[in-house]
């Protein structure tokens, strides 16, 4: 089997996070530029200054609060040590195996077997599982799933994925609002303004598309790497394989489309294709069986 270098993966994730933040910054500044041209020339510097300050504070905010936004969007609540003892015990054991600090544990209400990890680094990480996963999986399977999530934490996938989901998710919303405001208040008839209006509209249409593409690009390979990391922690692929087999025949779940890539398996249970957010489960099982 091809050896996966985890250090490379970590470095790549950190690098990509920075590139992503820079891209977001540029997109906001570009947006501000387009807006300033579409409205009036006198306010150019004011609009640009506002755009820069806004984008910087936006990036700061999402960097530190993206995990909370992600948790809020699925209405997750903290797991209690007494009620979910097995959940705590397994994660504590896996933290011993991996040398990772203990993440905060959350639960979200859903009958579907699924889980995700989020946060900006291993010291500020969160693991969240569905109530379905806690009910339907046995201990070994749950261990496999949680090891997979800790794999995302160890490989710094959580930083890049959460940033991408939250930053890009909000961009698509913002550009939608921008688009709508243009439809409602387009009364001035200057030729130059019309050009930029059209540009603005084009941009607003492209932004969600771009957002979708970024989402699609992020998780596919990462899932394989996290699976491999999980096996490194548990020393056996059996638990994760059995969990994936159960997941394959599971019910679909309704979550915000933007957060779907965070989950360990596609929440919508779509048939895999070019636009799927996750690799096909069969392929993952095949890769795991070879370990």
């Amino acid at each position: 089997m091809e050896r996966i270098s985890f250090y490379d993966q970590i470095a790549r994730n950190k690098r990509k996070s920075i590139v992503l933040m820079f891209c977001i910054f540029l997109i906001f500044v570009l947006l501000g530029f387009l807006i300033s041209l579409a409205f009036s020339k006198e306010y150019f510097f004011v609009v640009m200054a506002v755009a820069i300050v806004f984008s910087l504070s936006y990036i700061m905010f999402t960097y530190y609060y993206s995990d909370k936004i992600a948790l809020m969007s699925v209405r997750a609540f903290p797991a209690s040590r007494t009620q979910h003892k097995q959940y705590y015990d397994i994660v504590e054991g896996l933290c011993l195996a991996s040398g990772l600090p203990m993440p905060k544990l959350y639960i979200m209400k859903s009958p579907q077997i699924n889980a995700f990890a989020t946060g900006r680094n291993p010291e500020n990480a969160v693991v969240c599982v569905t109530t379905g996963a806690l009910e339907k999986l046995n201990k070994q399977e749950l261990e496999g799933v949680l090891a997979h999530e800790l794999g995302h934490i160890a490989n710094y996938d959580i930083r890049f994925m959460t940033l991408a989901v939250v930053m890009v998710g909000i961009i698509s919303i913002v550009s939608e609002i921008f688009l709508r405001s243009l439809w409602l208040g387009g009364s001035e008839g200057e030729k130059k303004n019309v050009l930029f209006l059209l540009l603005g509209i084009l941009f607003a249409i492209l932004a969600p598309l771009f957002a979708m593409l970024v989402q699609l690009a992020i998780s596919r390979k990462r899932e394989f790497t996290a699976d491999a990391t999980a096996v490194k922690f548990t020393r056996s692929p059996t638990g994760l394989i059995n969990a994936l087999k159960k997941i394959k025949h599971d019910v679909p779940m309704h979550v915000n489309k933007a957060v779907a890539p965070l989950f360990m398996s596609d929440p919508f249970r779509k048939i895999s294709g070019l636009f799927s957010t996750h690799p096909p489960i069969d392929e993952r099982i095949k890769a795991l069986s070879r370990m």
């Binding site: 003892k85 015990d89 504590e92 054991g93 195996a97 040398g99």
Partner: protein
């Protein structure tokens, strides 16, 4: 003048690498120590639960004296053990004795239904998992350290700093099969 700068550059480069390797050694050594301490913590947690367990079992299965003595003896042995290798070895003995105890408990429905007993059983099996994981991490840490010590250029710096390869914990894993229990 130019060659002087080249010499300074090379010296600075070598110095930087030497510092990097020194820090690598320190980090990995710390990790080995820390993972060893984690095993110790879990072993101690297990030992602390045993008296409570024996008390509970006594209430329902008073005449299973032999097995309870075996558990208590194994626990004492473990607490007495000096170094970690002896501790883990004694702990394996304890784990075996506990396995027998829980197998015997199957014959006492009232004991099996006891809230306290169930909790202890769950806790002990969780600790067993954690000990296994802590040992795994300990071995991983030692392996990372040893690789640094033996691979080039780490091997040169290992000599320079007087670092030597560390030995793995050489204790056989506890057999995972169910212990045999005889009833006479």
């Amino acid at each position: 003048m130019l060659w002087l700068w080249i010499v300074i550059g090379v010296v600075a480069f070598v110095l930087l690498i030497a510092i990097f390797y020194f820090n690598r050694f320190v980090v990995l050594e710390r990790r080995v120590e820390n993972s060893l301490a984690q095993i110790d913590v879990q072993l101690k947690k297990r030992a602390d639960l045993i008296p409570n367990l024996i008390e509970t079992v006594k209430g329902y299965a008073r005449h299973e004296r032999r097995i309870m003595e075996e558990v208590a003896r194994a626990r004492k042995e473990m607490l007495k053990a000096g170094d970690i290798a002896a501790k883990v070895k004694a702990s394996n003995q304890l784990e075996k004795a506990l396995g027998k105890l829980f197998a015997i408990a199957e014959n006492y429905p009232q004991l099996k239904a006891n809230e306290n007993f169930l909790q202890l059983q769950q806790e002990l099996s969780a600790i067993e998992d954690k000990i296994a994981y802590a040992r795994q991490y300990y071995n991983d840490s030692i392996m990372a350290y040893n690789i640094l010590c033996t691979k080039f250029p780490g091997v040169a710096f290992a000599k320079l700093y007087g670092k030597k390869e560390k030995a793995f914990l050489k204790i056989p894993e506890v057999e995972k099969k169910v212990p045999k229990v005889s009833f006479e």
